[in-house]
Symmetry: C2
Subunit: 170 residues, 2 copies
Amino acid sequence: MFSQTVEYALRAVVFLAHKAPNPGICEDIALGTKVPRPYMAKVLQGLVKAKILRSQRGLGGGVTLNIEPEHLTLLQVINAVDPVKRITTCPMDLASHGMNLCPLHRRLDNALATVEQAFGSTTLAEVLSEQNGSIPLCEFPPRRMPLQQINPPVLSRKKSWHNLPKSGKS
Amino acid sequence: MFSQTVEYALRAVVFLAHKAPNPGICEDIALGTKVPRPYMAKVLQGLVKAKILRSQRGLGGGVTLNIEPEHLTLLQVINAVDPVKRITTCPMDLASHGMNLCPLHRRLDNALATVEQAFGSTTLAEVLSEQNGSIPLCEFPPRRMPLQQINPPVLSRKKSWHNLPKSGKS
DNA sequence: CTTGAATAAGACTATTTTGTCCAATATCTT
DNA sequence: AAGATATTGGACAAAATAGTCTTATTCAAG
């Protein structure tokens, strides 16, 4: 139903949110989300292109959430990498149907609408804050070591890289 | 979101329902649903294998609905050709999650559940009876010539072929 | 019993999706 | 300026899906 790419993109975004506003490097993200590294790189590119992430090359770089979790919906992420294709015109292009979908396609599209609505109204922040026993992506929720094990601290990074010039578009 | 195969299978079933309990031949179905004939043949096979259709070889044969439209849900058709894959265990197989999906996958699965529910509670009969302006698949609902143009009558068929021996498996 | 109409089944091709690899480029640190 | 670290981008490989074609098999009717 949902493509792998969507799965991976959502995982990446959740992962990034965990360590926002710090950047994450592809290697870590791939490891932490159990996605093949080279493929994660490609997915990340898509998210950057859609302005959902912002990327920074070089030492201390990586990709960072470009939208606050409170304002980023799951639908935005999905649409960035593999858009939900609503049915707007008759797929059989029967001239007579036009905008007026037949009952069959009406129901198909309704299902899509429901999905769209569900993900469109769910923010990343909501996913993160929901405590239902398992923390998103992360091994053990109630225990001590939430991220460090999967995503070992890079102690060499001392300062400076978390307040890079916001890089507004100009 | 939905595969082509699902689309085609649903079209075929709706088409068949229109002319039930008479059988339809692949050629007609493909034409009437605007699906490439050879591919329709394959989709039909899947539906036969799932016992949703029954097939009859030879002259006067074709495929027939094997379940009354009142009892056939769209979900059955979908699952026959391209099953909805609910998320039952953590896709990242984090040992600790097990049955307990994290919020992210919980929402993904909820969406699937919603879709499953929607199609599971919709029967073919409902789709057929719904008059919302366009008849399912068919060009013009309020006019005279509903099926005949798309699916020209085979006058040579005189009798006998609609009460063929139910063809129980032995 | 032969023939024509129809499905069944499998091999085969093409396209899309998924996944991999490597070279080029950008950026920070020293 | 040099070197290390990251993303970018394109070429490539593998797998799944979509679509095609050909050859059986089956059945009814003459």
